[in-house]
């Protein structure tokens, strides 16, 4: 019996056990779920250790003896080991010193996110909304206006900071326009966007079901 056949049988069994959830929660589904979780976690550990930690931490140490050590590189390697060991101390729940590498990770991650959001999304998308009014034809112009208006209406749907009724004061006319006219339009655009997204999710799930059924068909056909 080839490993492919064994593998296909295992995959078929798992597929049936997981899809049995349609009939209701049952032990077969739970066994398959827990097995999947354990194996997936183990695979992640294997890949992280083999593909990242061993090459970046262990291999350079092993290579120290075979080549002349650069002091700068050695220092940086030492810091890498220090940070790695400090972070591994987080395995103990009461450990406090493991927060140092966590603080480093949080700071760098926040900076990268800010830089990418500003240069990669905020400025280009704002420019794409504001400037290119395509005047080549009426259709393109209408499309541009609809897109621009939809973007503004979508942003104004989230009017959390606008006060609409100060005590004893008249309602701001701008706020009134936002809440009564613009925000509903934005809600329509958001609803349409989410509808397309969920349709895509259903399409992806349908592709998964089709793939599993084709595996079953191919296995049963053999």
């Amino acid at each position: 019996m080839s490993t492919d056949l064994i593998g296909a049988a295992v995959g078929l069994a798992l597929t049936v056990m997981i899809l049995s959830y349609v009939l209701g929660d049952n032990p077969l589904f739970r066994i398959a779920m827990y097995l999947f979780v354990g194996v997936a976690a183990g695979y992640a550990v294997v890949v992280a250790v083999q593909n990242v930690l061993i090459p970046q931490l262990v291999a350079p140490v092993l290579a120290l003896g075979s080549q002349t050590a650069d002091v700068g590189a050695l220092t940086l390697l030492g810091f890498s080991w220090l940070l790695a060991l400090l972070f591994l101390l987080k395995l103990h729940p009461a450990n406090q010193i493991g927060r140092i590498p966590l603080a480093l990770l949080a700071g760098v991650g926040a900076a990268v996110a800010i830089g990418g959001a500003v240069t990669g999304t905020l400025l280009p998308q704002t420019a794409a909304t504001a400037f290119p009014l395509q005047l080549s034809n009426l259709g393109a112009l209408a499309t541009s206006l609809i897109v621009a208006g939809g973007v503004i209406a979508t942003l104004l749907t989230f009017h959390y900071g606008v006060r609409f009724s100060a005590r004893g004061a008249e309602v701001d006319p701008v706020a009134r326009v936002v809440t009564t006219a613009i925000a509903p339009v934005g809600q329509v655009f958001i609803g349409l966007t989410f509808g397309v997204m969920v349709a895509g999710l259903i399409a992806g799930a349908a592709a998964a079901l089709a793939e599993r059924l084709s595996v079953v068909r191919s296995l049963l056909g053999q």
Binding site: G120, P124, M197, L201, A203
Partner: protein, 668 residues
């Protein structure tokens, strides 16, 4: 005992009495009428009448059952008439003297309780009017009965009365009590009555009273009261419950008054000392009284215990008319905000049977809670609707395989331009004059999305390989690195099967592996990929970056194109943002899940973004396969997928129509 009716008031009297106990008249018809009692002055015949409950009927006891002293009374009464004079003691006779002034009417309560008392009885003068008994002592000296005379003539007494005080008797006692008995009469007094005699002034001293031996044996109950005499040392005797009895002193008129009982005696005016804690000496409680005291009261002093420190209220009122005073009740916060008593006076003491009952009740309550049924439990019902939907989906997935003629070809998409642009961008990499650089393929989806995205990743890889360009794969998740290995392996195998050309690893394709850190890892890879990957996914690290597939690659810009196969908008956005930062001039193509399309389409070049083309979903992948002439899994799975999508649309439509109709019907 025989009963004799008074000839005057017709009330029943014991036969041993000489005088009527109601009207004080002689019970003998030949004795002549006695002095009529002043009816107004004496609404009650005597104090005895006032206090006694009128008896009805013959309640006389047989003479043989009478106690000794009562019998003695009877004998004395029998001997008394020979003297020819009333046998009442002086003080007793004063109750019926005609010189007594008119007594004030008896209290109404008294009258109400004792109807006999209001029927012509007279109140004794001393009771009715304390001032009335001002009669001379002589008038209080009728012939005493023997028993009473014996009491008064016996100078000795068992009872050691407290030292008589030099001060006179209180007024009420002077008037009501017997006058100072004569010496002769005093000799005949019993011991206890001799206490009424005027004590020897020499013996009067404000000292603590101690029980002493007396000629006559002291009753036990009386002896137990002796320590109470220690209270004579108290200076503030008014509020003291154990105030020593006032000592009888000489009468104001010089007549000797019968000695008062010890308890009625009062100390000679002791010098009043200031009240202080040191002056207070705790009296010793008798055993029987101490046994009655609640033991839970902490600090409650009894025999042998240290007394509690006296509570002192140091609060001084500051407002109102009571300002400056201490010991006043505070309106706030004591009344408004009553506090909890510091001492726990009451403790719950339960008997064994009560404890058992409580345990049974607790067990019942626990059992009830443990067996409590769920609050709302719907009756068991099969999820038939869910099963029906699932069956329809499965049926729709199988129909295209059973009846493929029912479905047409995938309709050409208006958005096909995106797919076409993506295909064109890849195709342009192999154009003549274009630098032949490896193409970076980012596998940014989880294994769960492999069914939808692996076909499009494979078609991209096959297209690139067909152009003769190396494919370098990177996975942004541990699972995606393994999926990338599968994609490259299958693509190379498929191309080898089609073209007969062997695509070799590290020459035509390389899987670098897992790139950790998300956007942070992308930043590092974009600037220096050699720093990130010291070895590939298979673990080979020796001269990795010297391999043909990676030759000349030192940054992201050195790749010929960037193909991002992403299952989520976040991962693709991170790559788009970072490559935009480094101003890479290579084309960017995205293959995304259909669900991520709306949030990635704004990055298209047609929308002003840096992305040249985009393939969204399995349908677009099937179209790409057809466009590129590389039919694969996407085309094979699309039929089944399309059938499921159509059935899903029908189910959703029908379900919502029915739901809307039912709501309308309910509203009507």
């Amino acid at each position: 005992m025989a009963v004799v009716r008074c000839p005057h008031c017709q009330k029943p009297n014991p036969d041993f009495l000489e005088l009527c106990q109601y009207c004080d008249q002689s019970l003998r018809e030949d004795a002549g009428p006695a002095e009529p009692p002043p009816a107004a002055a004496n609404p009650a015949a005597s104090s005895w009448d006032a206090l006694e409950t009128p008896t009805s009927g013959d309640e006389a006891q047989p003479e043989g059952d009478l106690p000794g002293w009562v019998s003695a009374l009877a004998e004395d009464d029998a001997a008394a008439p020979s003297e020819g004079a009333p046998t009442l003691p002086d003080w007793f006779s004063s109750l019926s003297t005609e010189d007594a002034p008119v007594a004030s009417p008896a209290p109404k309560a008294f009258e109400a309780d004792d109807p006999d008392a209001t029927s012509g009885q007279s109140t004794p003068d001393w009771f009715a009017d304390p001032e009335a008994a001002d009669a001379p002592v002589d008038e209080l000296q009728p012939a005493l009965p023997d028993w009473l005379s014996a009491l008064r003539t016996d100078p000795t007494t068992e009872y050691d009365a407290p030292e008589p005080a030099a001060s006179a008797l209180p007024e009420w006692l002077q008037e009501a009590g017997p006058e100072a008995p004569a010496e002769a009469a005093a000799e005949a007094q019993p011991a206890w009555l001799q206490d009424l005699a005027e004590p020897d002034p020499a013996e009067v001293a404000p000292t603590e009273v101690a029980p002493t031996e007396a000629a006559t044996p002291e009753p036990a109950w009386l002896a137990s009261l002796a320590p109470l005499g220690a209270a004579a040392a108290l200076s503030d005797a008014d509020d003291d419950p154990v105030k020593p009895p006032p000592q009888p002193g000489p009468a104001d008129d010089g007549e000797a008054l019968p000695p008062a009982p010890a308890w009625a005696l009062e100390d000679e005016e002791p010098p009043r000392a200031p009240i202080g804690e040191d002056d207070l000496s705790q009296a010793e409680l008798p055993a029987w009284l101490a046994a009655m005291r609640p033991t839970e009261i902490q600090g409650a002093p009894h025999s042998g215990e240290q007394p509690e420190p006296a509570e002192g209220d140091s609060y001084e009122e500051v407002v109102g008319v009571l300002a400056g005073m201490r010991g006043v009740l505070r309106a706030e916060p004591s009344v408004v905000l009553p506090g909890k008593a510091a001492n726990q006076i009451h403790t719950l003491t339960a008997t064994e049977s009560q404890n058992k009952a409580a345990q049974v009740l607790a067990a019942l309550a626990r059992a009830e809670v443990g067996q409590a049924a769920p609050a709302t439990r719907r009756p068991f019902s099969l999820p038939l609707l869910r099963w029906l939907v699932a069956a329809l989906m499965l049926l729709a997935a199988m129909v295209p395989f059973w009846a493929p003629e029912l479905f047409g070809e995938p309709a050409p998409l208006v958005v096909g331009s995106e797919t076409a642009l993506a295909a064109q961008a890849i195709e342009d990499l192999g154009r003549d004059g274009t630098p032949r650089r490896p193409v970076l393929m980012v596998i940014d989806y989880e294994p769960g999305q492999a069914a939808e995205l692996s076909p499009v990743a494979e078609v991209f890889a096959r297209h690139i390989l067909r152009l003769g360009l190396p494919v370098v794969a990177v996975g942004t998740a541990p699972g995606s690195a393994g999926v990338a290995e599968q994609v490259l392996t299958r693509s190379a195998q498929d191309m080898s099967n089609v073209s007969g050309f062997d695509y070799e690893p590290y020459t035509h394709l390389v899987n670098l592996g897992y790139l950790p850190g998300g956007g942070v890892g992308v930043v590092e890879f974009a600037v220096d990929p050699r720093r990130v990957f010291l070895s590939d996914f298979s673990g080979h690290g020796d001269a990795l970056w010297d391999q043909p597939a990676l030759a000349g690659v030192e940054s992201l810009s050195d790749f010929g194109a960037l193909v991002i196969v992403s299952g989520s908008p976040e991962g693709a956005r991170a790559w788009i943002e970072q490559t935009a930062f480094i101003n890479a001039d290579h084309p960017i193509v995205i293959a995304a899940s259909a669900g991520a399309g709306p949030l990635l389409r704004p990055y298209l070049a047609s929308q002003g973004g840096p992305v040249d083309g985009m393939v969204t979903g399995l349908r677009a992948a099937a179209q790409y396969e057809r466009h590129a002439g590389l039919v694969g899994d996407a085309t094979e799975r699309w039929s089944a997928t399309g059938g499921i999508l159509l059935m899903a649309a029908i189910v959703i439509l029908i379900g919502n129509v029915l739901a809307g109709l039912s709501r309308l019907r309910l509203r009507r």
